[in-house]
Symmetry: C2
């Protein structure tokens, strides 16, 4: 039905660490991942708190999707974004958790004995 509106997603078996790292090295894209991790559900493209224009954000969403980190789908007219957490965790165990935790930086603030 809406297949032509739904963008392609890479198979989890073709996701590479190189693409994942190239995706999350960008602070805006890392923020998208962190916000998805913190959210109780999926987030519409317009629902993120991002310091960039809508068109720039669209580019970042695409990069994340092509790297295999997020899955995009339509809910009515909204393009929704879902973290492919279980798939990523299966291929690269611990990576997402470590990056998101590091992005929050708790160990730096509370690391003193």
């Amino acid at each position: 039905m809406e297949a032509d509106r739904i963008p392609r997603h890479p198979d989890v078996r073709t996701i590479t660490l190189q693409r994942v790292l190239e995706a999350i090295v960008d602070p805006v894209r890392r923020s998208i991942i962190t916000q998805l991790c913190d959210a109780s559900g999926d987030i519409a493209c317009g629902g993120f708190d991002l310091p960039v224009s809508k068109s720039t954000a669209t580019h970042h969403f695409r990069t994340l999707r092509e790297a295999g980190l997020i899955r995009q789908y339509y809910a009515g007219t909204s393009r929704m974004n879902a973290l492919r957490r279980e798939e990523i965790d299966e291929v690269f165990p611990g990576l997402l958790d470590a990056v998101v935790a590091a992005d929050r930086g708790p160990s730096r603030n509370g690391g003193s004995p």
Copy 2:
């Protein structure tokens, strides 16, 4: 004594996730980290298996050192490289392990149920 030959290293408290990710997004630099993880001790600059020239490798070592990932020191005329594992683990728990494991890619090959 040899203070002028020993390069500066960032304090662990100033190491940022951004710099760390910018360092390890490069496959050659990631290979240096992986080889240091696999080694039983520190490795001289000439002791790595790298697909780049000596001068390019020197640039990569510098980037890793400035990001806070490795510590360099002299042993005679050899410049040695040590992974700052404990310090990195303290600031960004699980990050190094996850990246090195992902770089080896075991989960992709053995992940089928």
